[in-house]
Amino acid sequence: MILLALSLALGLAMGYCLRGRRLLKVERLVLGVILVLIFSLGFSIGSNSEFLTVMPSIWLNAVVLLALALLFSVVFAKAAVKLVKI
């Protein structure tokens, strides 16, 4: 987690040196890296046989809990944004 924050901080510091420039090559590279990241996330899910085997028996509970958690999160966050005017 600290390393993640450090990567971001390093990027921020370098970006600060390049202020005002439009970084077209970086935009393309970001899309490429996102796809690699999502693919490898999918790969680790697909390899997780434990998850795939329990999924059918608990999916209803999982879907209901997730739907409500998402709903309340979004509503509360929206209220927070309005309240403090982020």
């Binding site: 990027g11 921020l12 899309l31 996102i34 490898s40 390899s47 998402l70 929206k78 403090v84």
Partner: protein, 203 residues
């Protein structure tokens, strides 16, 4: 963007599944550990670079200041309340369902921790709810951002600092980077404590 992201996810899951059938653990480690971690670090670096180079985005962040700390607090509260209401509706252990939702999308933590604190069945549910949270955020961020630009950040929960961050920024705008990252960071830091605290309340 989503037209590339979803196929990448589906192909990844299929590739992982097929690989698992053949039992090639080396490929699994290479993708799930090394490539995943490396691309995550690279992505955060590149996104920081893009953000800091963008004068408009940095100006907006300066205006928001400390107020954005309220955001993850609201997301945490909403997630736990969602678990509470869900537990009541489904007629299952309310504390355990709150604990499961308090993983905020961090499935590698919430699964094992819920399993340990509430029992094995809850471990599986913890894994499912939080993994699905990440997947649903990736798949529907484009739509959620149209309804409310902060909605994808709230949906992403703890994952807003890593896996869902690029997707969120893509649809909610460059200037949401720091709000999303800090929200994800705080929720990631909070998740182990919230799950454990809820378990302590239950016993």
């Amino acid at each position: 963007m989503i037209k590339y992201v979803l196929p990448a996810l589906v192909i990844g899951v299929l590739a992982g599944y097929i690989n698992n059938q053949f039992g090639v653990s080396l490929l699994n480690i290479v993708f799930s550990e090394y490539i995943f971690t490396f691309s995550l670090f690279l992505l955060l670096f590149l996104m920081g670079l893009q953000f800091a180079a963008d004068r408009q985005a940095t100006a907006k962040m300066r205006m928001a200041g400390l107020k954005m700390l309220v955001f993850p607090f609201a997301v945490a509260l909403g997630s736990i309340l969602g678990g509470f209401v869900g537990g009541l509706i489904l007629g299952i252990d309310v504390f355990a369902s709150m604990g499961v939702c308090a993983g905020f999308g961090w499935y590698t933590l919430a699964g094992p921790l819920a399993g340990q604190l509430f029992g094995l069945k809850w471990g599986a549910l913890g894994l499912a709810v939080n993994l699905l949270r990440e997947l649903v955020t990736i798949a529907t961020a484009w739509l959620a951002a149209k309804l409310d630009r902060y909605a994808p950040i709230a949906m992403g929960g703890a994952t807003a600092m890593d896996t869902t961050l690029p997707i969120i920024v893509q649809y909610s705008g460059q200037d949401t980077l720091i709000t999303a990252f800090s929200s994800g960071f705080i929720l990631t830091a909070a998740a182990p404590f919230t799950i454990t605290a809820i378990a302590a309340l239950a016993h």
